[in-house]
């Protein structure tokens, strides 16, 4: 399964977007240049046409074109350019520039004194920009006097003229081509620069990620539980994700280590009784034995087997505890459960157990089986580690919104100063003989159960080795 590359997507998307913007911008610029050049050309030919309109003079015999008169007379300057003049009063009368030759320009008539533009292709293939300008011939005082003398005053309005001027667009086209080249080149350079900049920036920005990856790999190889050391130059947008990932990693690895330690502790706890069992069997089989001797050894082996079974059952209890679900939650009466468990323990342990229950009904919300496991473990623990014939004292009461359960006994073994360590799996205290039944899981189970019930368990002990385990659970306000 291939994963998309963030850097590649960033580069392509940025480049594409930038390209669109740059291309749009260059196109817009090109159009403006084109428009401007065309406008210049139009202005130019309009001006030329405008100048040519000045050569249309109205005289007593009609309209004459001064440029033509001068050209024909041979005294005027050479007239260049492509233009034609039509006398609109006299159809068919037109005057063409020498450069035009026999070609005709399009008849671009339009409103008076308003140029009309058109682009045409000449007979030789040249593109021409053409302007047509309808105008009236001019007349001056001299001409009016002449008309008066001729006995007829001619009105310019009656002699409309049309000048059509054309200019090849090759110059403009050449400029446009140059502009296009320039714009294309600048676009390419711009895009290339942007792409290189994005490439460099993304490499720079992603380098801390590579460093983060390396650190994660090193940390994984070293099997460390420390939070990941984040590179100081990690992008700020990624910091929350990196922290969340690091925290999750620590939690997962801590849980994994706890599970590993638990499995290791379980195996460790079983090693000694298994060694005892194997030793017994090795010795039983090492040489011929008398039947009664063999029977004794087998009996001892069975006893050890039962101890191992009890340890395994404790381990299974812990495993079941960890897999309890919210479906088991309901309202229950802790006093009733405590009473049942205490009665059974009195029978099995044959020890005095004093139980003080609250006078009125008391209810809790949670998993009643979890509560049962909790009280069973606490009472078994107290019975197992009680000195001589001393009784176990159990007290259940409610104080405000809290339900408090206390299990107290006179300890038969020294209570370590570090009492919290006794709540760790497989910890029984330095003074406890391995021959005493139990796997060191009782208080760990109690702690787990209390936590799952939303409460806590603590141990206290006085100088006389009187130990008290106190469980505090929250009572629901509505339940009571």
């Amino acid at each position: 399964m291939s994963h998309p590359s963030l850097r590649r997507r960033l580069i392509w998307a940025s480049t594409l977007l930038t390209a669109l913007v740059v291309i749009g911008d260059k196109l817009s610029l090109y159009h403006e240049i084109q428009r401007s050049l065309r406008q210049d050309l139009d202005d130019q030919i309009s001006h030329a046409a405008g100048l040519l309109t000045k050569s249309s003079e109205l005289i007593p015999r009609g309209v004459i074109y001064e440029w033509e008169e001068a050209w024909k007379s041979g005294v005027g300057p050479k007239v260049s350019g492509l233009f034609q003049l039509w006398d609109l009063r006299t159809p068919g009368r037109k005057s063409s520039s020498p450069d035009l030759g026999t070609q005709d320009l399009p008849f671009l008539d339009g409103p008076l004194d308003r140029p009309t533009f058109q682009t045409v292709t000449g007979e030789d293939g040249t593109t021409l920009r053409v302007v047509g300008l309808r105008h009236l011939p001019f007349t001056n005082d001299f001409g009016v006097s002449a008309m008066k003398r001729a006995g007829q005053i001619l009105q310019p309005q009656s002699y409309p003229q049309l000048v059509v001027y054309a200019e090849p667009t090759t110059g403009m086209e050449a400029k446009l081509v140059a502009a296009r080249k320039q714009l294309l080149l600048s676009s390419i350079i711009t895009l290339l620069s942007i792409w290189i900049a994005i490439e460099l920036v993304t490499r720079w920005m992603f380098r801390p990620l590579a460093l983060l990856t390396t650190r994660l790999q090193i940390r994984s190889d070293e099997d460390s539980l420390a939070p990941v050391d984040l590179p100081h130059d990690l992008p700020s947008e990624i910091i929350p994700l990196a922290h969340a990932f690091s925290d999750s990693l620590v939690r997962v690895e801590t849980a994994r280590k706890q599970e590993k330690d638990f499995a290791y502790g379980a195996a460790h706890q079983l090693r000694t009784p298994v060694a005892g069992l194997l030793g017994l069997l090795d010795q039983a089989l090492s040489r011929p034995r008398e039947p009664h001797d063999l029977l004794r050894r087998v009996g001892d082996a069975r006893k050890i087997g039962r101890e191992i079974r009890a340890t395994i059952e404790s381990l299974m209890r812990v495993a079941r505890l960890k897999s309890s679900s919210a479906d088991a939650f309901r309202v229950y009466q802790p006093a009733k459960i405590l009473d049942e468990v205490t009665a059974r323990q009195r029978e099995q342990a044959q020890r005095t157990i004093h139980l003080a229950l609250p006078p009125g009904p008391m209810k809790l919300t949670g998993d009643p089986e979890m509560f049962r496991v909790l009280v069973e473990v606490l009472i078994e623990n107290a019975v197992r580690y009680s000195a001589g014939d001393t009784p176990v004292e159990i007290d259940l009461k409610q104080s405000g919104s809290q339900v408090i359960l206390k299990v107290a006994n006179q300890a038969s073994v020294p209570v370590p100063d570090d009492r919290e360590s006794l709540f760790q799996p497989f910890q029984r205290g330095a003074g406890v003989s391995v021959n005493l039944p139990g796997a060191g899981l009782g208080l760990a189970l109690a702690k787990e159960a209390a936590r799952d019930l939303g409460g806590s368990v603590e141990m206290s002990a006085d100088d006389d080795q009187r130990v008290c385990l106190t469980v505090i659970l929250e009572a629901p306000q509505t339940a009571n």
């Binding site: 460790h268 706890q269 090693r271 000694t272 009784p273 298994v274 060694a275 005892g276 069992l277 194997l278 030793g279 017994l280 090795d282 010795q283 090492s286 040489r287 001892d300 006893k303 050890i304 330095a430 003074g431 406890v432 003989s433 391995v434 021959n435």
Partner: protein
Amino acid sequence: MRCLVIEDYRPLRESIRECLVEGGFVVDDYASGDEGLWGARNYSYEVIVLDIMLPGVDGLTILQTLRRAHDSTPVILISARDTVRQRVDGLNAGADDYLIKPFDMEELLARVKALARRRYDRNTPVIEIGDLKIDCIHKRVTRGACEIDLTSLQYRMLEYLALRENQVVSRSEIAEHVYQDHEMGDSNKVDVSLSRLRKILAAAGDGGPLIQTRRGYGFILSASGS
């Protein structure tokens, strides 16, 4: 040879004791670290089999205490701790061997015997002194071509003297390292047992007396004529 076992788990301790006794050792055993340390300081042993997790003083502390007192008695640690770190720690504390629970008794016995032999600079399980040959694994004793039948006590005595070939061994050392507690009676017992052993060895071979008396000091086993 005398062996000390310090292990608090009763079934295992008893099995180890039985295995070592049947293997020809005299065994003292203790269930707590305090008692074990007392025993190790006050008596002489060929080998100490020492559990690490003990009530009271733990095994590593016992080991370090002995080594600080320049006690070089070979120690084999037995423990449920099986990580490399823990084994290294045990060996660095001065242990001569490390056995992880659960283990075969046969292996424990073989390792204890190997350590005991090394204590007397013996690298092989077969001791040859002149024409006397003692196979410590099979507990067979021969002199020349003649196989010698010995009681358990006589074998232990001969083996101990053979391990300490050419060394003078006192009566009290013999009593301490050879006799089980229930076997000791009056103070003459060592002399009587030795006398019987000498006769048996003399009858088995022509090579001359192997066990000689050093008056006021003890006894010495050496090749004939030495």
